[in-house]
Symmetry: C2
């Protein structure tokens, strides 16, 4: 029986063992949703970096760079943090360097784990199918907000859990997982209504980002499976189509 | 309007400002439930200590000591961690030194805050009445389990929130608070059934602690209001009865 765990925020990651598990990184608003979009639109390789200094150094070497802090595009960058910027004509077959407030920091926290994948509502089915096939323990790592809990990543963890436990070979023994599952079961009945309660919903609506929010809560728009490989991320489906 | 926040686990406390707020410490299973019980049974003063070395040093000076680690009474201690040990004949008008796996560590984390109170289901009404009267911002600090989230403290935070927001002068803008409230609203309809899902329920049942669990989820058995004062805790109701 494979075990499911959820780490609610990056600051809690030291409470978990990373070995012999698949780490599933979640940052619904918006890093992992954007990474899914990038590969859906044909990106070849993504290099997540923590600091803006690193991002700028890559830019000087001629790389395409996406970088935001607190929701705003950084001056030197080619892209900000809207999923709609990353159109196929701009990213297909390219390598992109990517730095965000929360999401890429989370990725860097677990870069030494054996196996790290990137999940969002957009590629939920693809992620679940992969986890079932791999048949290993799963640790879902929520990027959260400002190093703390956020509801959208927690809900999504509940969504993954619901799908995994329908398979015979997944279970859990965790308050985090049970609570995520219970909250997801309330929220999913009317997700577009429930998300109006989110802190990030209210914050992003102030910037006029309604279309971006709606985009991030769409199911199964993409079949990609972004995985970490050394210091970069690639689409496993592109290498080994199933 | 007074703000409500919830810190889900001690490791996240650095994400919060502690000034000009009332910090409400929660460790339902079992430190804050036991502290409520102690004052209900007439204790004069409680000294929370972090390490067993400190606890043993107090013991050598002749103090009464309660100390447990991972649910088991420590050898040199007079009391372990069952609320039923602290009968009035043993604690009335006494000073007790107290050290537990989670709860007393949490208390020590915020001992420099302006105002710290101790809450459990047993004194929920008393806590809420006090918070309403004080009319200040509130930070509920969950002790959790092994430095991480636990559902019972989260649910209780939802219960406090539900009662506070019925008053005109409390609100929140926090994913933690919204999620705690939503989960509490599921759980409260059949609390004795819901708590069977808790990790700690299953763990404590293995030790045969059903009566202890049931005791910890009783509402309003006590009107005490334990508050932090320098390095110790006293019952505010005893000093200034309302």
């Amino acid at each position: 029986m494979n075990n499911i765990e959820i780490c609610l925020a990056p600051k809690l990651i030291d409470n978990y063992r990373l070995d012999n598990k698949i780490i599933v990184i979640v940052d619904i608003l918006r890093a992992t949703t954007i990474i899914t979009t990038l590969f859906e639109n044909g990106l070849a390789k993504l290099i997540p970096v923590k600091s803006l200094e690193e991002a700028e150094s890559y830019k000087k070497q001629g790389f395409l760079v996406a970088a935001e802090r607190n929701g705003k595009k950084v001056d030197f960058a080619d892209f900000g943090n809207s999923p709609f910027e990353f159109t196929p004509d701009r990213v297909e077959n390219e390598t992109l360097v990517y730095s965000t407030t929360n999401g890429t920091n989370t990725i860097n926290l677990v870069r030494n784990a054996n196996e790290v994948i990137i999940a969002s509502f957009l590629n939920l089915r693809s992620v679940v199918e992969y986890l079932v096939k791999q048949n290993k323990d799963v640790l879902i790592l929520c990027s959260g907000w400002m190093q703390d809990f956020c509801t959208e990543d927690f809900l999504f963890s509940g969504a993954i859990t619901e799908k995994l436990i329908r398979k015979n070979n997944f279970s859990f023994d965790s308050d985090q997982v049970q609570s995520a599952l219970d909250l997801w079961r309330i929220a999913k009945n009317d997700l577009s209504k429930y998300i109006k309660k989110l802190f990030q919903y209210k914050r992003l609506m102030q910037f006029g980002f309604k279309e971006i929010i709606d985009y991030c809560f769409q199911f199964n728009l993409s079949e990609v499976l972004p995985v970490m490989e050394e210091n970069h991320i690639i689409d496993l489906k592109k290498i080994a189509p199933t």
